[in-house]
């Protein structure tokens, strides 16, 4: 999962190709998701990621996972998280073929698509983020905590929203609460510094 890192909270690419882990984190809090929508962020994913999130059968299905699936189906109906398709030629690229044993298929397909469209790739797996930086511009590899910090910095989220988001996120059994807290403080510091 994502840890605190030196993201520039003053900037955030609004168009993201997102992997399943980040979809789970964004949809863990509808407050966070709605704020991102209002800030005109757009999330796209590959068909493979949709398969992982909606069709693949895990060994156990928790209540939180069922809620996540319901939320994703609903937001998809409203046009977000629309699936994009990668081609066989994309998979045949040498550097992608070479990375196939180090990155999960969802990450691989998302990186391929982000590179192809020149958009950002969003993942909360810190090792996937580091590996992705080898294949694309590092500033175009983003995370949910980065989105959260940017929304605080731009005042799209208030102090009250922060606690609500963390509470909603925790209820869904997601792991980023501490990182959100740190990002919140960093965003406030940055906002203060930018005023001086």
């Amino acid at each position: 999962m994502a840890q605190v890192f030196s993201a520039d909270l003053a900037t955030f690419y609004k168009h993201n190709i997102i992997d399943s882990c980040s979809i789970s984190n964004i949809l863990s809090s509808l407050t966070l998701y709605r704020a991102a929508q209002l800030a005109q962020c757009q999330f796209y994913c590959t068909h493979y990621v949709i398969y992982e999130c909606l069709h693949k059968r895990p060994n156990n299905i928790s209540d939180a996972f069922q809620t996540f699936r319901q939320r994703l189906n609903k937001v998809k109906e409203h046009g977000d998280f629309q699936p994009l398709t990668i081609s066989i030629e994309d998979l045949q690229e040498v550097e992608i073929l070479e990375s196939r044993k180090k990155l999960a298929k969802g990450e691989l397909s998302s990186i391929v698509m982000a590179k192809k469209l020149g958009q950002a790739f969003m993942t909360d797996d810190q090792k996937a983020r580091r590996l992705a930086c080898k294949y694309m511009e590092p500033q175009k590899v983003q995370t949910t905590p980065h989105l959260f910090g940017w929304l605080i910095f731009t005042s799209a989220l208030s102090d009250g929203d922060k606690d609500l988001i963390i509470s909603e996120h925790n209820k869904m059994g997601r792991p980023l609460a501490k990182v959100f807290d740190t990002m919140y403080l960093k965003a406030l510091e940055l906002r203060l510094a930018s005023r001086n």
Partner: protein, 381 residues
């Protein structure tokens, strides 16, 4: 490179046939619409990259298998296996075998990536003479020496012993309890052993060595797979050889002659001795009979004695584990996830060589489950 649609379609057909799956089942499990999947199977449409990834995930194989125009792959090997033993492998067991192939491939990849094996001590033994039983005894003696065991020392972890000679060992529950183990030569990973976790732990210890014998003596380029059954043909000399190998490895004659010749023991002591040696009473009774320490009548009586399951020792589930950790690790083992394999995955993750989602893929677990396993293995970010 353009995709050969007919070859792609034939690979899909082989997998469907091997795993006894219908188009509807694959469509339901993957979200690929039925009509679209039918077009892919019949070679009427070219798959997208996403569909290739989805099918690779569903069928537990490297996606390169689908996008390359190579014909020889691990699926042709399982084709031979399932054709030869078609009535012995249920649908679930076929998928279990597919998963073991998948894990063996990843275990080999991780060992290379981390430059880490348990010993890297390749072992080979050529049979000398025409007595198969003796091949087994000689082979076991050489292997024990190769692994550094003294004549009277017992192997406490036979699974790791076989990993030390570069075999990939997986314990996995199979529905057919008559299948005790499978030895096969993976096209990339090399020699692999699948042990049916359905057997009791001491039987699994015997099976892993028995399968190792098949891997050493019987697997070659012409014969890449061997399946062993609990009920076996006594005239099958390869089985006789594998059994004598396993017996001589686990209970070398010196242990019996040194420690048991002059001992008179009651039934409880006999059972305790068998447990000390990590073998079932039947195995010890046979060894004592062969050493002429007991007669046939006594052996018949002793072989039915039982060691209570909770007293048996499993090196892959050490006594130091808490009840909760033992329960969870047992569940992992039943699915083929040995401590060795899980740790390789997490070592690669710790060294930032693979992502966590990749670890989940290699362990055939979901993201939720992987977080639980990380905790069990004390893995930190």
């Amino acid at each position: 490179m353009p995709l050969d649609l007919m070859l792609f379609s034939s690979k899909l057909k082989v997998l469907l046939n091997q795993l006894l799956l219908s188009d509807t089942e694959v469509s339901d499990s993957t979200g690929i619409p039925f009509q679209r999947f039918h077009e892919l199977v019949t070679g009427q449409a070219e798959p997208s990259g996403d569909e290739v990834l989805i099918l690779a995930d569903f069928f537990k194989c490297d996606y390169k298998l689908f996008i390359s125009n190579e014909k020889i792959t691990s699926i042709s090997q399982t084709e031979i296996l399932f054709r030869r033993f078609s009535s012995d492998f249920s649908k679930e067991d076929r998928m279990a075998v597919r998963e073991v192939y998948y894990m063996a491939e990843h275990e080999c990849f991780l060992q290379q990536l981390l430059n880490k094996t348990l010993g890297n001590r390749n072992f080979s033994q050529l049979p000398i003479g025409g007595v198969f039983k003796q091949h087994g005894i000689d082979g076991a003696t050489s292997l024990r020496k190769h692994l550094g065991y003294t004549d009277t020392e017992i192997s406490r972890n036979v699974f790791d012993d076989m990993r030390r000679i570069n075999f990939h060992v997986f314990r996995r529950r199979l529905g057919n309890s008559n299948i005790s183990g499978v030895a096969f030569k993976h096209p990339e990973a090399g020699k692999c052993i699948l042990i049916n976790y359905d057997q009791d732990i001491y039987r699994q210890r015997f099976t892993v060595v028995h399968e190792a014998a098949h891997a050493i003596f019987d697997l070659d380029d012409q014969n890449e797979i061997n399946v062993s059954f609990a009920k076996w043909d006594k005239s099958d000399l390869k089985e006789v050889r594998a059994n004598s190998f396993a017996s001589a490895f686990l209970l070398p004659p010196q242990i019996i002659s040194n420690q048991y010749r002059s001992i008179k023991y009651n039934d409880d002591e006999f059972v305790a001795k068998a447990n000390q040696l990590l073998v079932n009473p039947e195995t010890l009774s046979i060894a004592l009979l062969k050493a002429t320490i007991i007669d046939k009548q006594e052996q018949e009586r002793l072989k039915h004695k039982k060691i209570p399951t909770h007293l048996k020792s499993d090196a892959e589930l050490p006594a130091s584990l808490s009840a909760n950790a033992r329960h969870r690790k047992t569940a992992l083992l039943q699915r083929g996830l040995s401590d060795y394999y899980v740790r390789l995955c997490f070592d690669a993750y710790a060294q930032e060589l693979v992502s966590l989602a990749k670890v989940a893929e290699m362990l055939l677990l979901s993201e939720e489950e992987i977080n639980d396993i990380k905790f069990l293995y004390g893995v930190n970010e």
